[in-house]
């Protein structure tokens, strides 16, 4: 069963369309990257799914419940875009309070707060007031707050914003932990690197609309449609041998040891390699060139810097 199922969600602010026809399905244990430029509607989409903002149209269920269901929020974690809270609370007090609100009993809340303070590297600052925290420290605390009740579904709105490299690695590690635990993560971001290194699937949003949804395999975008360009460096290539590739691939260029192929389907890559080896080619390199996330982003969303 899908943890999130949205069908045609819309959001208007006055006459401005912020999110148009948001339709998606997210499976348990999936890390879903939601990519888009500033103002694309990422945060608004998340707010609708969390019941913070009322959709202007459309339907959705989260954890099998309609939007705005109160009880199922105990199984959801959320790191808002700008995590702010009472400045006078200490880090430990804040986590305990959020744990209690999320439904943990006093003792468990205390344990989890201590555990997560340590996990996000703030153990030494447990008794320090939020007012004295730097931006990155607040962000780490916000992350702990989103996760300390072991939610089944976590929404993170730009979790690495304001974090140092150590913090970014931490986020990556935590994301993998969450996946291993079986939790689904909805990750809002415009940082391609962080999405590339963690997500199972990524949606590209532009002007409120999803332009494409692509699976990511080991950090690389799976081929969108059909063909994959492949660079081959091999000895013993011959015209006859290459002609036999016809069922799977097309030869784009061939000069000496260098060969460029266009393989029709990603699934045919092993067959091509096997055929070449069987035909006597001595392969030094066989490199499918998958589009990087950045290229895909540029192609789908565009490169303009303005809004």
């Amino acid at each position: 069963m899908a943890v999130i199922r949205a069908e045609g969600l819309y959001k208007f602010f006055g006459s401005k369309l912020a999110v148009a026809n948001l339709t998606l399905e997210i499976a348990p244990g999936e890390i879903f990257g939601f990519l888009g430029p500033n103002g694309a509607g990422k945060s608004t989409s998340v707010k609708m799914l969390l019941g913070l903002a009322r959709p202007s149209g459309g339907r959705a269920t989260v954890l099998g419940r309609p939007l705005g269901d109160v009880a199922c929020r105990a199984r959801i974690g959320f790191l808002p875009e700008h995590f702010r809270f009472y400045e006078w609370l200490t880090a430990a007090e804040l986590l305990r309070f959020h744990g209690r609100l999320a439904g943990l009993d006093r003792r468990t809340a205390r344990q989890r707060a201590a555990h997560w303070l340590d996990r996000v590297g703030l153990a030494a600052h447990a008794g320090q007031r939020l007012g004295q925290f730097s931006k990155g420290m607040r962000q780490r605390l916000g992350l702990a707050q989103a996760l300390l009740h072991d939610p089944e579904l976590v929404f993170l709105d730009e979790p690495t914003s304001g974090l140092d490299p150590g913090g970014r690695w931490l986020v990556r590690e935590i994301l993998r932990e969450q996946r291993a635990r079986g939790a689904a993560v909805f990750l809002n971001s415009h940082l391609l690197g962080e999405v590339e290194s963690t997500c199972d699937r990524v949606a590209f949003l532009r002007e409120g609309e999803i332009r494409a949804v692509r699976p990511l395999v080991h950090g690389a975008l799976a081929a969108a449609q059909g063909s994959v360009p492949v660079e081959v460096r091999a000895g013993g290539l011959g015209a006859e041998l290459l002609a036999g590739l016809a069922p799977w691939a097309e030869v784009v260029a061939w000069a000496g040891d260098h060969l460029r192929l266009e393989v029709r389907r990603e699934a045919d890559l092993p067959a091509v390699a096997q055929y070449l080896v069987a035909g006597g080619a001595a392969i030094f390199a066989f490199t499918p060139r998958r589009a990087t996330l950045e290229e895909a982003f540029a192609a789908i969303v565009g490169r303009e810097a303005g809004l």
Partner: protein, 274 residues
Amino acid sequence: MKLLLIAAITLREAARRKVLLAAALLSAGYLALFALGVATQFRGPHAPAVLIRQEITASLLQLALYGVSFLAALLAIVSSLETVAGEIGSGAIQALATKPLPRWQLLLGKWLGFAALLAGYVAVMTAGVTLVLWLGRGYAAPHLFAAAALIWSEALVLLTLTLWFATFSSPLASGVAALGLYGLAFIGGWVEQIGALTGHPGAVRVGIVASLICPSEELWRRASYLLRSPLPGASRFTPFGVASAPSGAMVVYAAVYLAAILALALRHFSCRDL
């Protein structure tokens, strides 16, 4: 219960604000000044007769508690201003509103926290004023609990109005609006008083309309009426007397008004985008 968690943290939050410290200092000063006044009065060769003394003491109590009701009203408005509107503005509310408790409980919890704060404030101040009069004069005020409850209710009316405004406007605008209504009720009350004393029914009607729009002053006047000197007709000559006493019906109206505004606030807060 989660509602109480919110109430407790709201109370703690309010207690940490500079506003409360300022209010405490101001109130302590106020009580000290009042004690000084009570201690120095009626000294010397021209001490008035016993009946008049009692009359003056009753007026002193009204005067002192009027000050308390004013401070409580200000505290209600100023301390609650930032909470809802400020937290929506800063986004702090988002981490709360996505927790498993309904939005109305979130706001009601805050309301309860402030209500408790105001109850504490009114109780301490009323006790202080009464104690000064009792020690200084041996004067035991009548209907003290009822009067304190009415003063608290007045503060609750303003608290509820402020929270309601804060669900759809900025902290500054909410504060100005609540203060404006308080002022309207205050002036309306005086127009009614003067109208009653001088026999102008039109003025009385204006006052009644004002107190229907915001029944805060009316609650104070009911308290003041309960605190008046037992001598018939005497207190109308003092500035805090009651020429036209608010009826019990007005108190019922105020209760209904309070409940209605609170319901509006909860409803609006539950529906809006955060």
